[in-house]
Each structure stands twice: as C-alpha cells, then as structure tokens.
Amino acid sequence: MHPFADLNAYIDGALDPQSRERVDAHLGSCAICSTRVAELRATAKLIAALPAPAPARSLVPRIAVPMWLAPLRTASAVASGLALVVFVISLGSGFARQTSGAAAPAPQLNDRTGAAASGQPALAPAPPSSAAFSAVGSPNPAARSAADTQKAVTGTAAPGEAAQQTATAGPQAVALHAPANPESGQSPVVWLALAIAFAVIAIFATWRLRAA
C-alpha cells in the first residue's frame, strides 16, 4: 500500500514520528513513491521560486504623524471659526452702514488700520455694538467699536492669521483718506477666504490624524 496521501506532509516534515518512519521505510523499497516524492519536492521548489512582483505603490499606511499635527488642527479650527464670526460681523456692519448712509466709510477704513497697527489683544469682543453705534449715526464711536472687534479677533487668532492680516492691511492704509465705496468693501470676503483656508487646513490635519 503506497502512502501517497502522506507524501506531501512527509516532505514538509509535518508527519508524526510513527508515520514518518513508516514512509521512510516504504521509500527505501518503492521506486514509484521515491519518484513522486522527488516530483513533489521539485514542484514545491518551483512554486517557491516563482517571480515575486513588487507593488506599484507603497502599501504601508502612513501612521507616524508629526507632533504638531494635532495642535495645528485645533488652532486651524479655532481660527477658521473666528474668521467666520468676523466675516458675519463685518457683513452685518456693512449692512448697518448701508442703512445708516454717510457714517459707513469711516468705520470700515479705521477698523483695518486699527487691526494692523495694534497687535494687543482686547479682553472681550463686542460684536453687536458696531452695528448699534453706526445705526445711531455717529461716526467716531462706531469706528472705535469696529476697531475693537477686529483687535479682539487679531489677538486671539493664530499668528498666521495676524500676519496675513497685517500684510493685507498695508495697501489699505494708503487708501485711508480716499473715498471708499461702503458696499464693495473687501473685508468680509477676506475673512471668508481666511475661514475657508483655515478650514481646509483643519480638515487636512483631521484626515491625516484619522488615518493614523
């Protein structure tokens, strides 16, 4: 009786000692089984030697994340939220200026110079007062409160934001005394762009952190 069914386990060293001895003894006297063992061994060797293609891209997940990624995500999310708040406020004040007529140009120009000139943080933002004061029609308090609002944001937002704002405020300051069109102020758009930019950074950081 040929131990055909055991020959593969035999060459793999997976037989128990008794079976192994039995097959050994049989192989000594059986040319057929010896040949088959040789064939199976050669087959196993050929399978092992098959060419191994490499993957076209790296399959290792990128897990190690830089230490600063989590703080970056938080800071960007906060900055994005703040920029969005300021965007809404400046939309609101723009609308208020529209309704209050001539009082509008002053606060809009002043708030930029105020933000650019002073990096000092305000203790509390006063978002609604801007609209309220300009509705009264007095240019000076309205200008001050708008500037306060901007300062509050500049003081609490990420440093990048402040730098960016300073950069954009430069050319604006030159146009301080030029007549401005209250309806076409760039400020709200700039804040919206900032909010989007920080949101993108925050989303990217979140995605990278989640992949880890």
Partner: protein, 197 residues
C-alpha cells in the same frame, strides 16, 4: 538570520503596541512585499491585491492592541489571507460558493510523466514552467491555493497555516496535498519529470 530579524521584530512590535506609529510602519514595510505577492497570487489582480494589503495593514494597526500571538507575521498573513478570500467570495455571484471541492475519499489522480522529458528540478526560472505553475495555481480552489502558497512560498508550518486560515490541521494537510499534487500533475502532464534520489 531569521532569529535576528525576529528579535528586531519583537522590539518593533513592542514599540508599535505602545502606539509608536513609526515602529509599526517599519514592521509593515518588512512584510509589505510578501503580503503583496501572496495577495496577488490569491486574487490575480494587482489593484485588488494592493487594496487588500493596504486594508490589512491599516486594520492590523487599529487592532494591534488585541494581538496577543507571538508571530506578527502569521497574524498579518491571517488578516490578509482572509481579506483576499472574502474578496474572492464577493466576486462570485452566489454568496456561498464552496471554496473547497467536496472531499473525495479516493486518492486524487497522479498523472504519469511522458517519455523523454526534462527534469523538474532544472525548471527554476523557466518561463514556460512559471506560466504553467501560475495557471495551475489559478485553477486551484482558493483555500487550497492559500494553504499551498503559505507553505511553499512563505514557509509557514502546517500548524501556523491552520491558525492563519482558521482550519483544522487535517484540512490544511489535505489542502496542501491536493494543491501541490495538482501543480505537479500540470507539470508532469507537460512532460517534465522528477527523478528519485
């Protein structure tokens, strides 16, 4: 050599378990190619194989805390093999196609070599033989193919293959036997032979 790399792996594994992503990346890089060739031969599709390996590695990272075995390599091969088998099952229209043919008690047939033929042992690297072996492997039931590749290419022991494929050791033995015999038959039928000794 294997001992040295095992030690390094144990250290890397330890660090990865403590949440060190870079250590896990190193571990993954060491098994990336073996996993890919295994997945590729299981699935016969490069992009599927890439997906399966990437998913398996990511899943291994996420469940690293639950890994308690000794061999990271066996564990990651288990995840990869099972994902590949799942994908093969999903490819079939019928949800539960048996991956193993029904076991027949009778001994599987042995093809007889044709007269005047080359030695099997001389065929390493022979393009025709490579194509023939790959075709024969491709025709094996997936579970047999997995067991045979894990044994002959990756060098796992039968016990490890049983763990990797969630099978009884007798089943593993039978799968490897049938699978290797089928490849041997395909080669022998072409006229190649093995010589005793």
């Amino acid at each position: 050599m294997r001992n040295a790399s095992d030690e390094t792996n144990a250290e890397l594994l330890d660090r990865a378990r403590r949440g060190e992503g870079r250590a896990f990346e190193d571990l993954a890089r060491a098994v990336e190619r073996p996993l890919y060739r295994h997945a590729l031969r299981m699935l016969a599709n490069a992009s599927d194989a890439e997906d399966v390996v990437q998913d398996a590695l990511l899943s291994a990272w996420k469940s690293l805390s639950s890994f308690e075995g000794a061999s990271f390599r066996a564990w990651i091969f288990r995840i990869t093999t099972n994902r590949a088998l799942d994908r093969l099952r999903a490819r079939k229209r019928r949800p539960e196609l048996p991956l193993d043919p029904p076991a027949d008690d009778e001994e599987a047939g042995w093809a007889e070599p044709a007269a005047s033929s080359a030695e099997l042992a001389d065929l390493v690297g022979d393009r025709e033989a490579v194509a023939l072996i790959e075709e024969a492997l491709g025709h094996l039931p997936p579970e047999q193919r997995a067991a045979l590749l894990l044994r002959d290419v990756e060098g796992f022991a039968y016990e490890e293959i049983a763990t990797i494929t969630f099978a009884e050791i007798g089943t593993v033995k039978s799968r490897i036997h049938r699978g290797r015999l089928a490849v041997r038959n395909a080669l022998v039928a072409k006229g190649w032979k093995g010589s005793a000794g």
